[in-house]
Symmetry: C5
Subunit: 97 residues, 5 copies
């Protein structure tokens, strides 16, 4: 899974029926220090993530393994909000409250 | 899912039976400002997208989760037309009417 | 799906039983102007493609959705021969007869 | 499968139900000499791997083929701990005891 | 599918039950002239390939379509040994006997 930050969202009126009512967020992959390194990806949100949240995304067929995304044309899903990231014994990222 | 722009189409007479009647469009990935960054990808259209439209594409097995692409050799599908893209509270792209 | 050109073929005597009798072609991704940009990929041919043909290939599990490749260890399939490619209203490639 | 080293872990309170109780480790791809070359990936641990371990990870739908990850939104799994890597007849890596 | 050369192997004692008894080889992608271009990938061998063999590997879910890899956490499989590669009418690689 990739570590990513929520940076925006997508509005779409004309879309596949199975996507209606789903929240389409724009995320970008980040380092463990929360620096953006990836290009924009659109992911379905299943955990009520908000702008600036660091999240985990699953891609490919695994993105359809949540109740929200089952049998939909979804290849990227936000399935967790990150509280903290620890690398080599040091906390590199901690969510602000 | 990737954000992409429709730039062209493919004509093919000799093809797998399951693809007959499907619309094969050429798309290229774009930034949230609608600048082309990706190389040409061919995707099956399921939302009647037209030239210049900014769309969302799903790839891999997820591309076969629409009624149009079910059980076909499709690894990229256009499943939504983008109305607008917002990043960090600002609208970066809005569809022209 | 990727646009690719058939450039060669593979001979293999020792192989998985499910691949016996399948035609293994070497393809390389091309631009819409038929210039080679990708490295060699081996794909199963399902449309009787020949050397120099510009074709469409599907990858991943979608490559197993043809009658020829069903339930085989195939992750790339040639499922269409391209007649022409049009980008921004101009024909960029047309198959020679 | 990729060869990777365990470098850290992720703490997440808000996440998909199917991921509850799973151990989320941060790994990075390494060469056969155990030098880091890849960016951070988050993988579910199924073999009780620890910090510094060199492991094998499977990605995509294959990551869901273990008892721990079945039907979960997991696209990367640690399924083996590496004892040694041999390349061209020479041991390039051996696990410290 | 990719063209790759077998360069080594992996020893692992602690691993998923479904992988026990499987041969884990290290391969690297090669050009049609058998020059190494890719980084190390670990693949399950199903055709009794040996060091130096040029082979075909299938990735993703397709890697699980052999009898040896069915329902295992395998995302890369060696399913054929290459006898020869021909590009633009010329033999570029032929297996030594």
């Amino acid at each position: 899974m990739l570590i990513a930050r929520v940076v925006g969202d997508v509005v779409s009126t004309i879309k596949d029926d199975k996507i209606i009512g789903r929240k389409l967020l724009i995320v970008r992959e980040v380092t463990t220090e929360n620096e953006i390194v990836g290009k924009p990806i659109v992911a379905i949100d299943t955990v009520d993530a908000g702008p600036g949240d660091v999240v985990l995304i699953a891609q490919g067929s695994s993105a359809r393994q949540t109740n929200v995304t089952k049998e939909t044309p979804t290849d990227a899903v936000i399935f967790a909000i990150v509280d903290s990231l620890e690398v080599q014994g040091q906390v590199r990222f901690r969510k602000q409250r």
